[in-house]
Amino acid sequence: MATSSPVSAPPPRGARVWFGRLRNGDEVARLVTLAFACTILVVTVGLIFQLWATSALPRHKFGFGFLTSSQWNPVTGEFGALPFIYGTVVTSVLALLIAVPLGVGAAIFLAELAPPRISSTFTFFIELLAAVPSVIYGLLAFFALVPIMRDYVEPFLKRTLGFLGIFSGTIFGLGYLTAGVILAIMTLPFIISISREALLEVPTEQREAALALGATRWESTWQAVVPYARLGIFGSVFLGLARALGETMAVTMVIGNDPKVHESLFALGYSIAAIVANEFSEATTDLHVQSLVLLGLVLFLLTIVINALARLLIIATARRGSS
């Protein structure tokens, strides 16, 4: 943006002119802001380097076996990431299974049906929901959601769908399912507000054409409008996924902290972020600390990939919407 504007002189050359620019302040301003822009670069590169450098020990000792081993025993010095990766992925996928239909439905209502006043009021409240700190979601989940899950939801699922392996076993209230539900609530606002924007980008002609062909309001929405905005909606889903993967506090408080792989969703589990939060300050051996850093690196790479996908999809819809 704002390169040389048409009215300014043609680009001058040579050291004399550069000193002239330095004296009137432009070059100073450019260099100062450049320095601060560079700090972003330095910090991000430094962060990646730091994670890589301080996880050398387990990388060399376990290699790729780190990702597939489910042994986590600080006493014997065995560290495997599988229970944590499993827990992170299972809770995030559960969160999406709940949040995507609900979020896309709400976005359709806000973008297509609601009168502007209601739509903007609802959107305002939903964006406030996105601002609630995660530890507060954790607090509510721990004291309000856990009893509800333990006394009503999980017994009901066990009675009706108990023949499936995933809804069997002891009911604690804590566990994968509860963590998934609280993550769903936390990702919902992101999915709604970005899907809504994607739906609002859809040209009116798209709706009119479908209605003119005799489609009902729902058919026009579902068959003409939603497919047009699908990339943006997928983008919102990936963004929600990235947030769910990296979410720490709420999950730590309700997942149950058991470093094993369980088939049942009622079982206690663990997630990558939760194990780092719980054990990092208490880890004593270098191998333990570095294994936790390596888990952090795995989480970081996971979210980078998901975020990049989300951004690409959102950019792609924005381009198409404006063309």
Partner: protein, 281 residues
């Protein structure tokens, strides 16, 4: 009307009302959260919460004065580092950035923005806590500033680029140098947007817990900036998971205070932005 058409009509109404239900459920969640938190927090809060230090496990009573002060210290440190850096980096991206390098910085800022906050905590631990041999408010402040910098940079850039080019050309035509143009024309034209972005960023870091767990740590006293420092979010985490009823009450009270602060900041930021458009177009 054939049966099939009638069915299509019914299906249409059904699905459309279902989307309305989804929206109502989403908004209702906010009010449930707010209501439940204020209900429990209001019952638990008293003057001791604001005026007394927290007590170690097993002792009854106590408040969260240290956590409130500590939170403000850490946020102040984070703001003092994060806002200037983020703002100036944003100015670079909007006004001086070329093609390749600005793209790189923008990409890195987005990358940093997407880093899970617990990973930021690991980084701040390695950079500050290890050399200082212990938790400190500095470490917590730095960790939070790393979250604040990319948010501020990107929002500053966004609002500055939406200032019309003609304003810049006008100032340049009058003989102003480029930095004078930026300082006296572009930034004032975009200041509402920039301020909104900054307030939202600070509100975001105010509730962050994960990066503080092993950077600023926790403490029952008010120490200097070089010592472990309590903060509201960390306190909520430990108190909620404790086995004591009294501590649970304190967690609720702290949760209410924190949530009200964050929501207040968010609403204020949105009011600033809507009170007059950021840029006259």
């Amino acid at each position: 009307m054939t049966l099939r058409n009638r069915w299509r009509k019914i299906l249409s109404y059904m699905m459309l009302s279902l989307t309305g239900v989804c929206a109502v459920v989403a908004v209702a969640t906010l009010f449930l959260i707010l209501g439940y938190l204020v209900y429990n927090g209001w019952r638990s809060i008293d003057w001791n919460f604001f005026t007394q230090l927290s007590k170690p496990a097993g002792e009854a009573g106590g408040g969260m004065k240290n956590a409130i002060v500590g939170s403000f210290q850490i946020i102040l440190l984070a703001t003092a580092i994060g806002l200037p850096v983020g703002f100036l980096a944003g100015v670079y991206l909007a006004e001086f950035g070329g093609k390749t390098f600005a793209f790189l910085v923008r990409y890195m800022a987005d990358l940093l923005n997407g880093v899970p906050s617990i990973v930021i905590g690991i980084f701040a631990y390695a950079v500050v806590v290890v050399p200082m041999h212990g938790n400190s408010a500095w470490a917590g402040g730095l960790a939070l500033s790393l979250i604040l910098i990319p948010i501020t940079a990107r929002s500053t850039e966004q609002f500055m680029t939406s200032v019309p080019q003609t304003l810049r050309e006008g100032a340049l035509a009058l003989g102003a140098s480029k930095w004078k143009t930026i300082a006296t024309v572009v930034v004032p034209a975009a200041y509402r947007g920039i301020a909104t972005g900054m307030i939202l960023g600070v509100a975001r870091i105010a509730g962050e817990t994960a990066p503080l767990l092993f950077t600023s740590g926790n403490s029952d006293n008010m120490n200097g900036l070089n010592q472990p420092t309590a903060s509201l979010p960390v306190m909520i985490f430990y108190r909620a998971l404790s086995p004591y009823d009294d501590w649970h009450r304190q967690a609720w009270a702290a949760g209410m205070v924190l949530l009200l602060l964050v929501l207040f900041a968010n609403i204020a930021a949105r009011l600033i932005l809507s009170r007059g458009i950021a840029v006259q177009k």
